[in-house]
């Protein structure tokens, strides 16, 4: 290839368009080739842009969800103000909307579920992360626990209705509270089962990330396995385990169908953990299609907005903790 330097710029004297073969076919062919590469370049930039637009779409989607919830709950925010959050009475017939029964129902059932599930999910995490990380039995346990998360919530609800509620009713007659069966306690039990996998699988991967030198140092000092777990593994993974529990909590707060089916669906303030009640999600599921007044509908959406904000904050805190943990 002949190249020459003119005025400091490199030019190629045998450029296909200029020198070689100036027959019409050859020129047309070369032009086609140039056009083709221009087309490729154009497609490339279009492709890059469409990737970016789709990336933007995810952001727009989330902002859109937030915006829709805010706009649709404006009538209720205007009409009821902040006292919506601590109003104790929910009576759509008389136009009284207080969200406290549902806030309380959600908080009580979720935290109760969390307390019940923590020993189990922690045990799974420790057993799989520390005691037996490999083998067929750990594989079995790991896959089974993951399948717990795969079972649809409506099936948990149905099972709870048919099996758990009678058991709870029996329990209630023994301890002397009104034997309803359906109620916050039953829904907590169902939720506790459903949220085990989230904290367990995250906790397992966190525990496996504990540097072995730390553990070996403790063993070298004569610590037993349990002492290593208690004074090295658990303190080291504290924040990661906490993040797993937060993610479980996020799941529990937003869980709808299973809770709706076993919680009993009353809009009264829950008096004890066995009382029937409603969570924010379950009241929306039950009353959304029946809401005939604009304020009624909008009050339900405001509950949805609260639910959305709470779960978003909880999830983001959890994710932040995990990111910091895995980057260290």
């Amino acid at each position: 290839m002949d190249t020459s330097v003119e005025n400091g710029a490199v030019t190629r004297s045998d450029h296909p368009l200029r020198v070689i073969n100036s027959t019409p076919e050859a020129i047309a062919k070369a032009q086609r080739r140039v056009q083709r590469s221009f087309r490729q370049i154009r497609t490339e930039s279009v492709f890059r842009q469409s990737l970016m637009i789709i990336g933007l779409l995810m952001v727009v989607l989330v902002l859109g969800i937030l915006l829709t919830l805010v706009v649709q709950s404006l009538p209720s925010i205007k009409a009821l103000g902040p006292k919506f959050l601590w109003g104790k009475v929910w009576d759509p017939v008389q136009d009284i909307y207080g969200g406290l029964p549902f806030l309380l129902g959600t908080l009580i059932s979720s935290f109760l579920a969390l307390i019940i599930s923590i020993p189990f999910s922690l045990a799974v995490a420790i057993w799989l992360g520390e005691y037996y990380p490999k083998g067929w039995l750990p594989d079995f346990l790991k896959n089974t626990v993951e399948l717990i998360a795969a079972v649809p919530s409506v099936i948990y609800g149905f099972w709870g209705l048919a099996v758990l509620v009678p058991i709870v009713r029996n329990l209630e007659t023994h301890i002397g509270v009104a034997p309803i069966g359906q109620g916050i306690f039953a829904s907590s039990l169902i939720l506790a089962i459903m949220i085990i996998p989230y904290a367990a699988s995250l906790g397992r991967s966190m525990i496996q990330m504990v540097p072995s030198q730390l553990k070996e140092a403790a063993y070298g000092l004569g610590a037993t396995r349990w002492e290593v777990i208690r004074s090295v593994v658990l303190p080291y993974t504290k924040s990661g385990l906490f993040a797993g529990i937060l993610l479980s909590l996020g799941r529990a707060l937003g869980e709808t169908m299973a809770v709706t089916m076993v919680i009993g669906n009353t809009s009264l303030m829950p008096t004890n953990i066995f009382a029937p009640g409603n969570t924010m999600a379950s009241v929306i599921a039950n009353e959304f299609t029946e809401a005939d007044k604009p304020v009624y509908l909008s009050a339900l959406i405001e509950l949805g907005l609260v639910l959305f904000l709470v779960t978003v904050v909880i999830n983001l805190i959890g994710k932040k903790i995990i990111d910091r943990f895995t980057n260290d």
Binding site: L51, F158, G254, M257, N315
Partner: protein, 282 residues
């Protein structure tokens, strides 16, 4: 045995190991109970008749769940059609632009979307599609479920593509391939196993979703193929019939539960198997 002696500590060690083992395996029990119970209740109801007929009114025995099966398949098909291309493209965007500011926000929003309660998605789909179109429709249900599928597809695509060696792409670029051809001919084919398992996992997840369908697909006691009209789906049918006071309808719900459970579990187990076979990390 005094506290602090070696024997006491060893005993404590074994004690806690036993405790942890017992608690860990106690988690399996409820799942086995549920599987066994659904199997026992559902297996007697399922036969050919059950699969090809629509539910009968109260008082008549027989009837099946054909409408729910068809509805579930159609709704899931359309949500996959929407969510899979968008999700994979967003995943590609995230893995190709790891450091850009928009990618940070996209990643954050994907995380947020993953945690949004399904009922909230239902509300939003109601205002975005059902209200403007003037009625409940299967299509709105598909869109609600597509929103639920998206984050799973995006994250699994991103995680898969992130693990590919960059030399692969660089080799393709060095041959003069344009960006889009590198993505479609090199990157995606190499990572297809991970992407596919993410897609299957997301389908398994939305198959059992009921809450977003309550205000969108709404349910329909008849067989319907029209996606602009209300449509039944398996989880909706289970919810409606399980909470009804009639035993015939509850039987129907048990049969439907077994079908749904098998569908979801098989999809999950199948995904597990292919991830193991192709050694994908998810």
């Amino acid at each position: 045995m005094e506290i602090g002696s070696v024997k006491y500590r060893i005993g404590k060690n074994y004690g806690f190991k036993a405790l942890v083992t017992i608690f860990a395996f106690a988690c399996v029990i409820p799942l086995l109970f549920i599987l066994f119970f659904i199997l026992r209740q559902g297996i007697t109801k399922i036969n050919w008749h059950f699969l090809v007929n629509v539910p009968k009114p109260v008082g008549e025995t027989g009837g099946g769940v054909a409408n729910a099966l068809v509805g579930s398949i159609l709704i899931i098909f359309f949500s996959s059609l929407i969510a899979i291309p968008i999700g994979i493209m967003a995943g590609i965007y995230l893995s190709e632009n790891r450091k850009s500011r928009l990618a940070y926000w996209t990643r954050l929003c994907t995380d947020i979307l993953q945690g949004v309660p399904s009922i909230v998605i239902g509300i939003v789909a109601y205002f975005w599609i059902v209200k403007p179109l003037g009625g409940f429709s299967a299509l709105s249900g598909s869109i609600a479920l597509a929103i639920m599928m998206l984050p799973i597809v995006v994250r699994s695509t991103e995680e898969t593509l992130k693990l590919l060696p960059s030399s692969l792409q660089e080799a393709a670029f060095a041959l003069g391939m344009p960006f889009h051809r590198v993505i479609f001919k090199v990157v995606v084919p190499v990572g297809i196993s991970g992407i596919l398992s993410g897609v299957m996992l997301s389908i398994a997840r939305i198959t059992g979703e009921t809450a977003p369908l309550l205000f969108t697909a709404f349910g329909n006691p008849y067989l319907s193929f029209n996606v602009t009209k209300p449509m039944q789906s398996l989880p909706l049918l289970i919810f409606n019939y399980a909470t009804s006071p009639y035993d015939d309808w509850k039987d129907l719900a048990w049969g439907a539960s077994l079908i749904l459970l098998m569908w979801v579990l098989l999809l999950n187990i199948f995904t597990k198997l292919i991830t193991r076979k192709w050694k994908v990390q998810l």
